[in-house]
Symmetry: C2
């Protein structure tokens, strides 16, 4: 077995879920991640915890092929909550989830309404899983390498490079940005001629993502005050939503709401997001990507949103932990991350001071005021 | 996909577990059975039940490779009941379990004491699963074909031939033997010069295995009155126990107890079985194999015990459902099936009348009194 997989399993068990003796743990990932499953079971054995293995794909109830077969065969009205799975997670202390693919298009012929009905029935299960010490991570499967337009070996190097890091050092490095953003009142993001947006983060909480719920980690994120966003943003990276790619998305905000939008490709998908509910045309997250080992876009938001020298904004739901007490939380069925490249001709301003220019932070060498 | 896999899935869902809308079902089998998992999910979708997929091997907590890694790493004293898995099965209506292998020797370097400690911790989980509508079945994996010393394609033909049958016709055929055995008092099994054993089945219950808990099915079985067994038996087929093969086993019974024994190979394993506990040197089952599509021994007891023209006797625990009210149930930690070939120079006598000679039953053409 690739020694990087063993290292990955150590980081998951010892750091991300901090597994303790006697705890009940779920390993939920598809067969293509078998090496990681084996490495995790060895680490779980060393700790003396109790593992259960779910063979899951994106849908959470089985492999992608099996979930597709189920969802195509089932009558939408017959879908109900899988109570046994709910009970499993209600008695679970920690969960490790990965969603590599054998074929990223496996669910492309599942009816979207059936998928939505299933997602609704599955919501309590998801919430129960989110009550555990959970870690969402990845495995460099060939199909995912294909999505990233990379060879499998190069993709493995990329994935392990982004995940198997000195996370204590990352935490300390990122803490410098948290110290700037957490007490701040106003943030302005400027990139080229196409992006100049301002938002309040007053009384919001800035979190340091250094390797617990997500592996790879590598972002600092908070929630904007919902009605404070003003200006316009052009997103440089494609947004992959419902198996379709939105390119060249542009949004214009007034009083926190999107008042105008366009896209170079699949504008109707963008419109679908914005019109989902009241919260889906406002921002729920501002994140600053700080993982420079993620140096390319790979169509996997777990990686893309942490890319070095980027920021991302999410339309829709804000993470409760980022919303300060007594402040409104933007709520929505959606949470769609969209990325702005900050590497060139760009800066981040916090309370009137530039804190990052062309990707270099104020607390780093080479920063120009 | 092989159409025989779809037929197999239909038989499991419609007949063996008789799945109903809204029921919670667990599909518990390793990745090598992916085609069967997909076919089952399609059938489960048609019914409108809720599936969960466990990636299991022989140990039930994960694939064989992962379970091995866990069991080698864990301290025996740290093993405890996986409560989350228990809760899953306590809220499960039906469970489909299959244990094909990628490598039948995968667990050959797991310490037997650790394995025993795990089995003890897992007992309530197993019992909870046995409270559901369960079906133990199989998938023709290449490693299992290798164990059977068959090509994969020939093994597939064998497995599907034994499983995808007209089970209503089987039930009716086997009912004729149930009618003979259920009201009977005494059974005598004679084969060649080496087997002549008599036992009482008075007040015991004879069951017709026609495709519910086991697929393949194809036996009629009951429990002997524990202290009634007299005579001697030579078992013609090898007994595979704890990864070792007992060949040429011979047992001599008096008052139901084994008073003498020998084996041509691995006699110490046989002795280990007999000395496990009080019940393990008495018989707990008499079964009559009636599935003539199982025409060879394949080192898989799910198939071997149903082989046409054989009988099997199990040392150890009797199935509660075969023990009549008010009659003693032979209890033991063991249940080891052992097979006698009845195809030639053999007969079964029930209450003094020959009911099968050289493999042909009294209710079949070609029977000679």
């Amino acid at each position: 077995m690739d020694s990087r997989i063993r290292r990955h399993a150590e980081i998951i068990v010892q750091q991300a879920i901090d597994l303790q003796p006697g705890e009940n743990v779920v390993v939920s990932m598809p067969p293509v991640a078998e090496d990681l499953r084996v490495a995790l079971y060895e680490e779980i054995g060393k700790v003396g915890a109790n593992p259960v293995m779910l063979a899951r794909g994106d849908r959470g109830i089985g492999t992608d092929r099996a979930a597709r077969a189920y969802l195509r065969a089932v009558d939408e009205d017959d879908i109900s909550e899988p109570e046994h799975l709910l009970k499993l997670f209600e008695h679970t202390d920690a969960a490790v989830v990965a969603r590599p693919h054998e074929n990223v298009s496996e669910q492309s012929d599942v009816d979207t309404e059936t998928g939505a009905a299933f997602a609704a029935a599955y919501r309590d299960v998801l919430n129960a899983r989110l009550e555990t010490k959970w870690c969402l991570t990845h495995y460099p499967a060939p199909a995912d390498a294909q999505s990233a337009e990379m060879s499998t070996e190069a993709y493995e190097d990329f994935v392990f490079g982004a995940m198997n890091k000195d996370w204590d050092a990352v935490r300390e490095h990122q803490a410098q940005m948290v110290e700037i953003l957490d007490p701040a009142e106003e943030v302005r993001i400027v990139s080229g001629d196409t992006t100049d947006v301002t938002m309040s983060v007053e009384d919001m909480v800035t979190l340091n993502d250094w390797g617990t719920n997500n592996l790879p980690a590598g972002e600092v994120f908070t929630a904007p005050v919902p009605d404070s966003v003003e200006g316009e943003v052009t997103f440089d990276k494609p947004v992959y939503h419902q198996a379709r790619e939105i390119q060249g998305a542009w949004l214009k905000f007034e009083d926190g709401e999107v008042v105008d939008f366009s896209a170079e490709q699949n504008e109707d998908v963008l419109e679908g997001i914005l019109t989902t509910d009241e919260g889906s045309n406002r921002l729920g997250e501002l994140g600053i990507g700080m993982n420079r080992d993620i140096d390319r876009f790979t169509y996997n938001m777990l990686f893309d949103e942490k890319m070095g020298d980027t920021v991302h904004m999410a339309l829709g739901r804000a993470y409760p932990a980022t919303v300060g007490e007594g402040v409104e939380q933007n709520d929505s069925a959606k949470h769609v991350d969209m990325i702005v490249d900050m590497a060139e001709d760009s800066y981040i301003e916090v309370d009137g001071e530039v804190v990052q220019r062309n990707g270099t932070f104020r607390f780093e060498d080479g920063f120009e005021e």
